[in-house]
Every structure is written in structure tokens, then in C-alpha cells.
Subunit: 210 residues, 2 copies
Amino acid sequence: MAGSPTRDRILLASLALFNTHGLAAVSTHRIAAEAEISPGNLHYHFKTKQSIVEWLFRRFEERLMSLNGSASGIRAIDDLWLALHLRFEAIDGYRFIYRDMGHLAAEYPALGERAQALTAQNLLAAQALCEALAAQGVIEATPEQTQMLALQIVFTTTCWLSFERLVPGRHEMAQADPGMAAYYTLTLVSPYVSSESRAYLDYLRSKYLG
Amino acid sequence: MAGSPTRDRILLASLALFNTHGLAAVSTHRIAAEAEISPGNLHYHFKTKQSIVEWLFRRFEERLMSLNGSASGIRAIDDLWLALHLRFEAIDGYRFIYRDMGHLAAEYPALGERAQALTAQNLLAAQALCEALAAQGVIEATPEQTQMLALQIVFTTTCWLSFERLVPGRHEMAQADPGMAAYYTLTLVSPYVSSESRAYLDYLRSKYLG
DNA sequence: GTCTATATGCGGATAGAC
DNA sequence: GTCTATCCGCATATAGAC
């Protein structure tokens, strides 16, 4: 996966710049400068800017899909808490993808479709997760409520970090707050949590606030 | 507000193109072509592309703020249902703003800050709305739950239409579905709705599904 | 107010030496 | 693999005639 060290430096520099300044605002020249190589050398390793974005997107896909795969092991609230943290951290690491999805899908239609496919997978994983929680008695919900809860979770994990930049007091392109994101998501689950698990959920939420 | 007819045609053409193709992807030449005028004439009416975006953003602000102002009249579930529809339709009419917020804030920092300020106002209006619902006995929630519910509503109204493009089966840049958006938002409120209002809420939701 | 023609700059991508 | 130098095209914005 590392290929050559230079190749990897380019990907790392690109990721950092895209996350900080946005996909559209970062030129290949700037990437080359950040990676401390020449523009020509950059094009030796990646023929086009698109191919850089594709590689980053692939890594993002793989990371999320691996999280989706291990979603079946969730049995209790603290499993959910951990899973949410991991997911928000993964998305935060590639935050430019969802933040600049409009531009990304318009510029690279193939990636737009893959993003849709990824969302479909996330939805399936979230549904499996919610059904597992219901089966374990952690939450009490009708099948329709379970379905909607899964949708809420996917919507939130996908868009929350982008939204966070819109609430004043946050630094626009700077680091996000995965803890707050997980806290918010647990709030969505909260109305459906059974009385046995409620104490632990309240404990987790209060611990975050403190 | 209309100024000259040409000036207004430019704004209308810009809005349509931005909504369809995205802010970054639309050039001033293309706007001029859509408005059936010359590029030079466009710059007679608007010195810069930025000023076009600023005018559209101002209209968007005014529309949302007027909705925020009339939010105090909400007393029952069907008031909420109507208010959500109006809000989603307003946002849908200027959907490029939230969809391309990353690029917009990076390119025009002043507008990014105004978007933050607008979000703060939306949050206040949503809190007032939720408190009114609680005072009327439509919902039953602790102050903290009321607070979080307001946040959920603002998050959803802000980001849902952008998220919708990510779920497969939708046309990326095409028309959205405000009905589905309102349905989803009511689901968020649902756990807190008191038994007296629940029947009507279920009626509204089932009517949408049918 | 509206047009045509053009200046200016930048970003993506290439050529060819080392 | 890496560099410097350069081409090409597009987008914003301007100049000046009508």
C-alpha cells in the first residue's frame, strides 16, 4: 500500500490540505509544495489530480467498510459508544469527502456513485446494528422505529462533522469534536433505550459533559 | 428589490445554475448564456461573481429569518408540519448554499460567518419553537431534551437535503423531496409527543407514506 | 445598457534534461 | 525519480465601441 515513500507523502499531504482548505481550493502545485517535491514529480506519481482523490477515497471506503464489517459485534451501549467514536474519527480523518461532496460528485461522477454505494452499505450496517440492539433488549422499538433509527444514525455520522462547522464558536476548517458527535448520536438513541441500559447511557452522557 | 429586469434575470439564472450544477462548477460565462446576455453585460450589472452570490445569500437569509420570526405561532403538530414544509422548501430553493457550504465559506469568508450567524438564529428560533410546544403540552420533555430536540431540528433542516443526494435512487443534483424531509423530522419529535397529540402525528405520518 | 474583443492569471498537465 | 521550463485551456474581469 505504501508504494514508494514519495507517493505516500503526496497522499498524506493531499489529505491534510484537502481537509484544511477544501478539495476545490487545493491545486496540484500546492500539494507538491506541501510534499516538498516539484510539480513535475507529482505528475510522475499521479498522472492527474483525480487519481489522487481516487486513492484517498479508496482508503476511506476501506476504512468505513471495515467498521461496517465489525458492526455485528455490538451488544451493549458501550459497544455502540465505541463504534460511534471509531466511525466519527474515520470520517474526521477524511472530512473533506463529505464536506465537499457536492463538488466531488460533480467533478468526478464515478466517485459520486461510489459514495452512494457506500451510503447504502452504511445503511445496511446501521440497520443490522439497531436490530442487534433490539434483539439484545438494549433498545425497545418497533421494526419501523428501528429502521428510522438506523437512518438517523447514518445521517448523523455522515453530516454531523460538516454541520459542526456551521455552529458559531467552532473553527471552520480546523479539528472537529468526535466526542460531541457521539454524544449527539447517543441522544438520538436515548428515547428507545430500555430501562436496564438507561443508567449506563446516562452515565456515558454525563461523563462526556463533565 | 427587482432593480432592473436584466439584473433580476441574472440572479434567477444564477440561482438555477448553482442549484443544478454547484457553485464552483458554474462560470460567469455560463450564467450570461443562461440569462441570454453577453459576459460583458453581466459585469455591468454585477462587478464580480462574488457579488451575485452575496445577493442570493441575502435573499436566502431574509427568507429564513422571516420564517424564524413567525415561528412563535406554532401551537400544535400541524403547525409544526407546515412550518417544516415551508422551511425545507425555502432551503430547497437555495439548496446550493448548504450543499456547497465548504466551497462557499472558503471562497467568501464573510459569507461563511454570516452562515454561522444565521445558524445561531435558527437555533434560537428552534428552541423557542420547542419550548412553545412543551408549554402547550404537545410534547413532554425535560429542558435538556427540549434543547437537544431543537438542535436535532436545526441539524436536520440544514443538512437533510444535502444528505438525500447520497442515498441511492435519488437524482444527484435534481429536485429534492421536502415531504420526505418533513416526515423524517417529525420522526425525531415523535418520541416526545404527548399521548393527546400522538394520534394526529401518526395520522400525518401515515398520510405521507400513503 | 448592451455588445465584442481582449487582458490577465491560474490550474492541470506535458516535455525533456539530469 | 526528480527536476525546470513550458504549453494549453478556462475563468474572472476589463476596455472601449455602439
